[in-house]
């Protein structure tokens, strides 16, 4: 079985501009939705209380009765929605100035128990305003740390042009993931943030593989033009890119199927990241590196000595 049978290099770089325009359009669209709709931050970042309640197998949660029971407490704003299975409901209550939120969930449970004694509290998450703000800041810091770390590492290992190109390509993936979350108003929680950062590390992976191949090709194809070298690198790695992403996606699909609500958005973020990562590493990273003027001179020269050593090692 071999999925990919290329008889020649695919001239990706001839259409570099087209790819860039497509990327830019998707990117701007994502930015637009982020600005226009904003992220639907979960309780982790926004603060507030979330309660998951269940009425036990085979007993559907009657949302209108749940609402009626909570209304007796006069808590102000809140939402109730079904969650996963029919017997489960999710109640969200925003932060309230001055109110002691720790007791809030107890009062709600009392009211619900008075209405129907079968109700079971499965989960309560309460996050105070200060903690929410910190989680938000720490998330931003973590993102910054990854970006800076990757740029430094790739600059040292390859070249600054690749580092910049890779980080632009991967931030483009991240923004698109966030754009999806904004467009569909999916809940952005701590695990989703973890997924986003994992995608960042994972997509840089892609860029590394292609950059590695480009460097190798510059050494071997001494007379080829820069676009040809890049085309050849992308073509040679396409099979690996697709197989790897497919494999990772198999795992993520399994999470989507078996992981339930708790892992759903985590897996969705990974799915989008994996799909766009495939495209962006080859077609965004490589084109930007080309525009930035990556060339044989700035890649091969300092590597020459090391190359000789490696070749010796390979001798069987």
């Amino acid at each position: 079985m071999e999925f990919f049978r290329f008889t020649r290099d695919i001239p990706f770089m001839r259409h570099a501009l087209t790819f860039n325009i497509i990327s830019l359009a998707t990117f701007l669209l994502a930015v637009f939705f982020l600005a226009y709709k904003g992220l639907n931050f979960g309780v982790d970042f926004r603060g507030g209380t979330v309660m998951e309640i269940s009425y036990g197998q085979g007993q559907a949660a009657d949302l209108s009765r749940v609402r009626a029971a909570i209304d007796t407490l006069q808590l102000g704003e809140y939402t109730v929605q079904s969650f996963g299975t029919a017997d489960t409901a999710l109640i969200r209550m925003p932060l309230k100035e001055g109110a002691s939120s720790a007791q809030l969930s107890e009062r709600v449970m009392e009211a619900l128990r008075a209405d129907n004694s079968n109700v079971v509290q499965k989960r309560v998450d309460f996050v105070g305003p200060q903690v929410g703000k910190e989680l938000y800041q720490n998330g931003a810091l973590a993102l910054l740390f990854v970006v800076v770390g990757v740029i430094i590492y790739l600059s040292a290992r390859f070249e600054w042009r690749f580092a910049i190109a890779a980080i632009i390509a991967n931030l483009h993936d991240i923004v698109i993931i966030l754009g999806f979350f904004a467009f569909f108003q999916w809940e952005f929680s701590l695990p989703v943030l973890a997924a986003v950062l994992a995608v960042l590390g994972y997509s840089v992976n892609e860029s590394v593989v292609i950059a590695d191949r480009i460097r190798e090709n510059f050494r071997k194809m001494r007379h080829a033009s820069v676009p040809h070298v890049i085309d050849s690198a992308i073509t040679a790695t396409i099979s690996r890119t697709v197989i790897t992403h497919l494999s990772t996606q198999l795992m993520v699909v399994s999470m989507l199927v078996f992981g339930g609500e708790a892992l759903h958005y985590f897996a969705m973020a990974l799915t989008i990241g994996i799909l766009f990562g495939m495209y962006s590493a080859a077609l965004v990273m490589a084109t930007i590196a080309m525009w930035l003027g990556v060339s044989r001179e700035n890649l091969v020269k300092p590597e020459r000595k090391k190359d000789g050593l490696e070749a010796e090692k390979i001798m069987p």
Binding site: Q121, R123, V124, F126, S254, M255, F258, G260
Partner: protein, 635 residues
Amino acid sequence: MNRYPPWKYLIIIVAVLFGALYTVPNFFPEVPAVQVSSIKATVKVDGALLTRVQNILKNANVAHGDGFVDPVGVKLKMPDTDTQMHARDVLQEALGDDYIVALNMLSSTPAWMEKINAKPMYLGLDLRGGVHFLLQVDMKGALDKAADRYSTDLRTLLRDPKIQSRGVSREGHTVVMRFRDAESRDAARNKINRSNPELQLIPRGEGDDLQLVASLTAAEQKRIQDNAVTQNMATLRNRVNELGVAEPIVQQAGADRIVVQLPGVQDTARAKSIIGRTATLEIRMVDETPGALEMAMRGQVPFGSDLFAERNGGPVLVKRQVVLTGDRINDAQPGFTESNQASVHVSLDTVGARIFKDVTRENVGKRMAILLVERNQSEVITAPVIREEIGGGRVQISGAMTTREANDIALLMRAGALAAPMEIVEERTVGPSLGQENIDKGFNSVLGGFIALALFICAYYRVLGTVSAVCLTVNLMLLVALLSALQATLTLPGIAAIALTLGISIDANVLINERIREELRWGAPPHTAIAAGYERAWNTIFDSNITNLIAGLSLLMFGSGPVRGFAVVHCLGIATSMFSAVFVSRGIVSVIYGHRKKLEKISVGQVWTPARETLEANFAAPDGAKLLKAEKGAS
């Protein structure tokens, strides 16, 4: 050709054995158990207690399994949950209030495995159910209390004929003293400098309104705040102990926060009320009406009084009327009296000091009881005789006590009261059913993905693919073994990270196998292709894993709670996957192909080969094939 030296095989074998040994405990079922631990630091938990516990159960005809002592307490396995409940009740009654008897689940891992630390993975609260609280200590409140205390001190200090004081008042965290003349102010300043060097004094005002503003030095503020957190933690530990939780965690988190984790607690309302409780210390007068105590002992407690047992002694009859409550106590420290007797030095706040002064003036020669109120249970810590009027809010409690007792009482008095108010700023409660659901969901995700991935990779790369699948298994096993051995907390995002790590780690095998195919396509002999495939792919694999590690480390540094669980697994997984996908897989390939001198073909799935001319015209030759060409040319 492609053969590993024996030591490399040895490393692989050792790693796999380690993996198997430390993975196995996760498959032993959990059995119910009871756990006996001590409330007091002075009551030792040792082999003697274990024997005592076993004897109690033997006398009560309660069946039980193996028992052992660990730093937490005495643990005893139980045949079933009914017996477990029964045993708890029997033990609690027999052992009394000095011990906590809690229900627990223990792994049925054999003892010799536990000895080498081969235990099941440590599950986070989202998997086993329980409550997590993050409490914020109100530091402003702690400083307010301190300022209160100092204003009392200073007022006493300024009661000096040489100092013409016009009053002392607290303004925020500072204490302002007013004086009629500069001499008084200077005298006061000298006096305070001598007695309270931790105070910073700044003169202010002019004419006949001269002021001295006392504030705490930065170092003293820090000390007070640190003490507030430490003391609140001690209080919380005491309170949590009452809940009878098997493995409670009370930890400082950052400068002013405390994390409380109670695995397995289902009654969150009770947990919250106990943790959030205030005022647990009471000072009341002893009822010394002649004959009243004797009557009470016979069961006729006079109206308006309660009968209590003194901490280490006989019964005391105490009036119901509360003189002072624990929140009036600012601090309690063990010390010595002038006659070198062990004593406890208590300092009260302004209001407390005034009340105390009045009460002691009116009751010289009578006894006063200091009670610790815990869960509606009161205990008289000590009931000393009042010798004289006590002003200034500094109380010295002495009596027939040893240094250790003085220490204990001071701790109890401190721990009974909170040093500063606390507020729950984060709460995460997971019911036990949801915990089990989460385990199932996570486990099925990993299993489902693993099977799909293994099948696909076997089908696509044939023998080499099967090797990759075996390496994937080794990877999973090593990861679980590491998590078990390190006892890192496993959360649901952590399980997701296991799945993701497996999905990512296959990349290394894909890179290698694709390289081998490429070499073969160019006509390299199988052994050259394998060697070149592994060598060339290694650089790429290394680079790409480093970038993944950067993301993992940043989550570890900035993440909290469940996300940190994700990060731990992610980072460990990168390490294990680099080892298994490169080192182990090459070892297996060597075993399969390495010994064959004339290797015609390797099974890496179908290698599609276009015409040689097409290849040469369009592609760059890979390393192995190129070297071969050079070799041929030379010979």
